[in-house]
Structures are given as C-alpha cells and as structure tokens.
Amino acid sequence: MVQVDNSKIILRLRFKKVGVLKYISHLDLVRTMNKIIVRANLPLYYSEGFNPKPKMVFAAPLSIGAESVCEYMDLRLTEKIDPELAKSRLNANMTENMQITEAYYPETKLTDLKWLSYTILIKTEGASKELADKCDAILSSDVIEVEKSAKSGNKTVNISHLIRSASVVLDGEIIRINCTLSADQSEFLNPEYVIKALRTGASVLSADDITKEYYTVMRDGAYTEDMAQFR
C-alpha cells in the first residue's frame, strides 16, 4: 500500500482525562488511544515498516494521579475529514471520563505550548488561613528548592523560575492552589514538585493517612509563550 505524502494532514484533538482515569499512565493512555482511533474508523496514516502504527503525538504527558481538561494530541490522517465528524466518532468510542472537547486542523505546533495551569486542592484537617498564607509565601519566593532525582543521584534545584504564577487560598477545609507551570520540553515542571515544596516548607500532607489528608491535581489551562490561550 502506497501512501502519498503531499502535505501532512494533522488533526489536533483537545481532550479531557478525568475521574478514575487519573490512574492511567501515559503509556497506557497511548495504547488506549490507539484502539479508540481504530474503532472510530478514521482515515489513519500508518508508519512504514514491519510493524505499522498510526502516527500520534501527545503534548506534555500527564503524571499518574493528575486529572486534566486540556490534553492535546496530534493525529496524522491520510485525508482531510470534517473535524466535528471526527470528534463525534471518537467520542462515541470513548468513556465519559475521557472525551474530545475540540477537534481542528491546527496552525501551531504542539511545542508552542509553553505553560500549563493547574488547580491543586489539598484537603487536610489542619487547613487554616495561616497555613494557606504560609504556602502562598513559599510559592512566591525567589528561591524554591526541591530535591529532584536524576541519573547522577538526587540534587537540589531551584524551581522558582518554572512557576509563572501561584496563589494559595483557604476554601473551607481545603487549601486551594492555582498555579501556572512551565511546560517547555526542556524545563517541564511536574506539579508534584509544587506539592513537594509545600511538604518540606509547610509540613502539609505529612500524615500517612488518606482519611485525614489527601490532594487532587487538575490541569486546566494551556498557554503559549506570551500567555495566550494555546490552540
């Protein structure tokens, strides 16, 4: 079978991955998505070689335990089809916790995505205005040191320049953090490091008991370098 490659036809999909699907790893997401796009019967472009695979590229992998309403992937097709049709066919083949919210032919590259915003909720018995303020102060400081594991061993790094903005407020029994973190491929900041900084600096989430303390992470916005909505 010969596939004529005049101009690459790339369909961009924005999708959500919420609820229990936060426990699905990126690798499993890729496998799952592979089956979804086959079921949806889209005109998929397959790679050449012994083991042909559809071409899919994902932006900024989400770590296990985090939900998202703004995941992006590019899917290569062999012909241009109506994006709305693609969206509805895909959604019919997905569960309610994973649905396409937008499908379009993009004018940007996935690498233009530079910043991601998150809402982190910490439910703790010790929630107070003072604790929220303390967390806020930690995240607005010029030096936010966390330990990162690397091949060469653990090292302490300053992540403050990777946090574009962060605010912490008390919301009933919950500490609510809104933050915008670097999504640049070379300096991607996992929100787990924000939690880590607060764990060390403000002793939150130190109880080893999920009935007393737990947290949730939701990725809820994607931006370009100059903080315009990524599309």
Binding site: I24, D28, T95
Partner: protein
C-alpha cells in the same frame, strides 16, 4: 467505580489501573432494578483474569439477562490488599465498587489448583464465611466453576454450588431459579440449593455425605435425599454455532496478558493424549463454522480496535476447516493491518502454507510440544507424533525465519526411564543439527533451542488417573541427569519446580479432607500462590502435617483400580471403562487413533452435541 475510599488509596499502590473499572464496553446496570447481582470472581490479578476467555464469555452471557447484573472481581496485588485491610475496605466489584458481600451470587472461576487459597482469601476479604455450613440466610450463594471442578472435592466444603462443565446455560438457569423462588417467597438457602441440585451440571456438595474405609480410601458418596442425583453429569453447550459469543470486549486501560481478540474455534480435542485432562473433559468435539467465526471476528474487531486475532482451541491445526477459515479471515485482516496468531500447533500438521498466513514478523520464536524424548514413551502417552514430524516442522520454522524453537516435555511420565530423559537431550541436539544442515543463506541467524520440562501430574479423568505421581527425589534426579546430558550451549534448559507440582498433585487428586488444610493456609496468609514469589512449599507441608493429611496418599501412592476415586461423583461423559482400556494400551505401548480417523468409543457422544466426528 464510585467507591471514594477505594479511589483515594490508589495513589499509593502499584498499577492503580487494575482497580479503577470504567472500561469501554464494561456493563453498568441499575442496581435497584436488577433482581440478581452476580459477582464473577477471578482468583488472580486483573491482568490475568481479564485475559480469560471463559470469563469474557460468561460475563457477556449473564449480562444478556436484564434481571441479572454480572460484575467482575479480581484479586488485588499484595500492596493493595494491605491498604484495603488498613482502611477496612472490603472486597469490591470493579463495575460498581460495591462490596460483594451484598451480592446475591459470588462465583469463582477455578482455573488452576494453586489459586484455591487466593479464592478463599478473597472470601475472607469480602467478609463471607469460608465454610458453606457457616453461612447465614443473607450471605451470597458461593459458586465454583472452571476446569478445576472436575474434581472440586478439596474445596467442596467452601462452595454452596458447583457448576460442572460449560457455564453458558447453567449459570443463567441458576439465577433464574433464584429470582423465581425469591419472587414467590419460597426462597431459603436450603430450599434453593435442593432445587438447584436438579439442574443438570449443578453439584451441591452439602447434599452428599462422604464415608471412608479404614485404610483412608473413600467408601461412598451418599446423597442425603432421594431426589438428589447420585452422579453429576457435566453440562455442555450442544451447538456452538448458535451459542452466544461476545460481540464486545471489555477494553482494559492497562496491558493484560492476552491483550487481543481471542476466537474460540472449537471445543474438545480429537487427540487422546493420555496425560491430558482437557482432552478428555472437554469432549465431545464441537466445531464452529468458518462463517460464524468470521462474522464474530469482524464484529469484535469493530468493537475493540485490537489489531491481533488469536485463534484458540486445544489444537488449532486439527480444525477440519482451517484453510477455509484463515483464507476468509485474511480477506479483510491484511487490509486492516490485523495479524493472526495460532498458539497451539501440532508438529504433525504444521505446514509452510499455514506459517505464511500467521503473523511471522513480530516474533522470532515458535513452540512445539513433543512431550517425551523417545518414540516408545510418546506411544505410551499416545502423543502420536514422530521425530520425523518434529524435524520437518523445525525445518519449516527455520526456513520461515524463526530462529528460536521452544520444545515442551514432561518428566515423571508412567514407565519413564533415564533413556527417555536422554532422548530429550538427543532430540534437542538434532533440532540444532537440523539448523546447521541448512544452507547458510536459507537459515535465520543465531539458532536457539529452549527445552522446557514440566513435571507430570496424573490428573483426574485421564487414562493415567490411577498412576503414581513421581517422587521429588526421582524427579530431581531426572532433572539433574538431563542437565548433564545437555552439553550444547545453544540449548537452554528450564524445568518446573517439582515441589509446586507435588502440591498441585495433592490438590488435583485430593478429597474433602484437604479443605481444613486450605482453610489453615488461608488463615496463615497464603495468597496469590500461583505466583512463584508467593508460593511457600514449607508452609504447605506444615499445614498438611498440622491437619494430619499425608501428601503421599494422594500422589506417590497411586489409586487402586477398584477404589472409589474422589471425582467419581462427577460424570464427564467419557466412561471409566474407556479410560481403563486406554491405560492398558499405554502399558502395551499401543497408540489409539484420533477421533478423525476412527471412533474409539469413549462414551462422550452420548452427551449429544453438534459435531463432525461422533456418531
């Protein structure tokens, strides 16, 4: 899954995707409107249970009834089990996240003997009393089924009801009876079980008394009431073409063991290998037609997105219409980039043509099972393949680009001597030789032969059911001898743990006196023992000792030809006379032709069933 506590512990366990449910094609019903909630439990991990064809079929069949909601339950990994204990989370069903203690039926698929303690541990985690006699009116009916229940005696005291044979029809009949009795206000556990005992293929262990002779052998099984059948006849589905087969598969988010479409081609086996339990208990042979299979495959592809179809049955190449089926499938699979795989090939029917049709690029290996090292012993076990067959097959495999050949054998077969052991090494050496005899340009690079040897267990309902199981000492001597005989570094040798086989032998051949041993092991924390890392031989032997049970009695002693066997309560259709005849022929070194060549009068034809071979 809507269980919040369960959801929040998932952050701290390995592979949380095992526990979340919500898979595409999983079935959600309104729990307030269904009449019967059915928990289908698999006593092993999600990855293994999700791959099981029986579970896939029965989940689909049971859920076709609007009155019944069948949900799946798997054994958690040990880290999750600890968390569940820490936070008092009972065993839950995947779909609803509800505790299975609240269900009407809790059924276990018993696939291998070493899963027994896992099943019991799951009952414990669910807070359901282990012993049938201790269960109250409000506890679920605990059901057992699967290949192990052809001798369910070691676990019989833990089950309310046992489904002997194929479950497609029986399980629904059981639930319908339950619903009817509940609706009519006639339900009590006792009255339901008594009534259920009249359904063909249903065994209610509590309705029988087992008595023993002074020497410890069984005297008799006595039904407690005259209306309870003296023997339980295995149930089969007569017409597989018209039997329900899933059109949709529950799609796991995480990778499972067999993550592909599995197409069941036929049930039963035309061969009569004398060591093989499956070959006897799944008789009579019933084939599906290529038309039905193709329709089924296309439908499953459309609904799953899997790009691999595996054709399964006990021996694929014995399917009478295989070329027709593969041609018909290849009409569309090639274009859709779907590959075919055939996992069970016999060396006497392996062909170049067949290999070209199956996925050949992805794996570099192929497996054959000569089972024994010499022709004499292969005749004893009625394997009916020759060295010539093997050499021809490996030649085809090498020419087809497969450089790794895996050979399966068994140690401890009846009449086996050290000459037979040496024969294994010689056969493997000849396979390596066959590679080097080929002209260099024709052969793939880097030949490798793996010799994998398991330990023979004389299984119930086989011609060898009366045989003595080989001792640990003798097996380890044989294993060591084979190791010495294999000198070629291109031959890799691996063998099964004889200790695990001994325990499997005890459980496969045991009677009800094993139940306290299993209960004790469960109390001592035995769990996921089918996993090497959790199997503990010493714990097993000490439990046997504490309960006063002698493992040799069930294994190395052998059973007398006139003795009442623990599994004599079950009628699989194949007669004891046939098994006895086959045993005699084994000792004479005489083979028996396959059903395709000549009917040997095994008796299974009396079960009925639409098939090509039996009259």
């Amino acid at each position: 899954m809507h269980n919040e506590k369960l959801s929040s512990v998932l952050r701290s366990v390995q592979k949380p995707g095992r526990y979340i449910g919500g898979e595409y094609n999983s079935i959600i019903k309104d729990k307030d409107t269904v009449k019967c909630r059915f928990a289908f439990c698999f006593p092993d991990t999600y990855e293994i249970g999700m791959s099981n064809l029986g579970v896939r079929i029965l989940y689909d069949v049971i859920n076709k009834s609007p009155d019944i909601w069948c949900e799946r339950v798997y054994a958690p990994w040990t880290d999750m089990k600890e968390k569940m204990e820490e936070y008092s989370i009972p065993l839950c069903a995947v779909e609803s996240g509800d505790a299975i203690k609240e269900f009407d039926m809790v059924a276990f698929s018993l696939q291998y003997e070493l899963c027994y303690t896992t099943a019991l541990a799951m009952l414990k985690m669910a807070d359901i009393p282990l012993y049938q006699k201790d269960r109250g009116e409000d506890t679920p009916i605990v059901i057992g089924g699967g290949p192990c229940v052809y001798n369910a005696e070691p676990v019989a005291p833990f089950f309310d009801l046992i489904n002997v044979g194929e479950g497609e029809e029986v399980l629904v009949e059981i639930c319908n009876l339950y619903n009817r009795m509940k609706d009519a206000g006639e339900y009590t556990r006792a009255s339901f079980l008594r009534e259920a005992s009249h359904i063909e293929g249903v065994y209610i262990p509590s309705l029988y008394e087992v008595s023993y002779n002074a020497d410890g052998t069984i005297f008799a099984y006595t039904p407690l009431y005259p209306d309870v059948p003296k023997k339980i006849k295995k149930r089969i589905v007569a017409d597989l073409d018209n039997a329900p087969y899933p059109e949709k598969l529950v799609m796991p988010y995480i990778e499972t063991v067999h993550d592909r479409i599995v197409l069941e081609i036929y049930r039963g086996c035309i061969r009569g290998c004398r060591f093989c339990q499956a070959g006897m208990v799944y008789r009579p042979i019933r084939e599906k037609s290529p038309e039905v299979l193709c329709k089924s495959a296309k439908c499953l592809y459309d609904n799953s997105g899997y790009e691999e179809i595996s054709l399964i049955s006990l021996s694929i190449s014995d399917y009478s219409r295989l070329p027709e089926l593969t041609d018909k499938l290849l009409e569309w699979t090639d274009e859709k980039r779907v590959s075919l795989s055939l996992p069970s090939l016999r060396i006497d029917s392996f062909s170049e043509e067949l290999m070209k049709k199956v996925s050949s690029v992805r794996t570099g290996g192929i497996t054959f099972a000569p089972e024994a090292g010499t022709q004499r012993l292969r005749d004893v076990i009625n394997k009916n393949v020759t060295e010539e067959d093997l050499m021809r097959s490996v030649g085809i495999a090498f020419r087809g680009g497969k450089s790794n050949v895996k050979l399966y054998f068994m140690n401890g077969l009846p009449t086996e001597t050290l000459t037979d052991i040496e024969g294994i090494a010689e056969l493997a050496t000849k396979v390596v030789g066959a590679y080097f005899k080929m002209p260099k340009p024709e052969r793939p690079r880097g030949v490798g032969v793996t010799v994998s040897v398991s330990c023979f267990i004389p299984k119930p309902f086989t011609p060898f059911q009366w045989e003595k199981q080989d001792t640990l000492e003798s097996l380890s001597e044989k294993q060591a001898h084979l190791k010495e005989c294999i000198t070629d570094r291109r031959i890799k040798y691996s063998y099964h743990d004889a200790k695990a086989s001994r325990i499997e032998g005890v459980l496969a051949r045991g009677d009800r006196r094993l139940a306290p041993v299993l209960a004790l092991l469960t109390d001592e924390g035995a769990f996921l023992e089918a996993w090497d890392e959790f199997f503990d031989y010493d714990r097993f032997t000490s439990a046997l000792e504490k309960c006063g049970v002698d493992a040799d009695f069930y294994t190395t002693r052998g059973f007398g030809l006139d003795e009442v066997l623990p599994w004599d309560i079950i009628d699989i259709g194949v007669t004891k006379e046939f098994l006895r005849r086959e045993r005699d022929k084994a000792y004479e070194g005489k083979t028996t032709p396959s059903c395709a060549e000549k009917c040997s009068g095994c008796g299974a034809n009396k079960l009925g069933g639409k098939n090509r071979w039996c009259k």
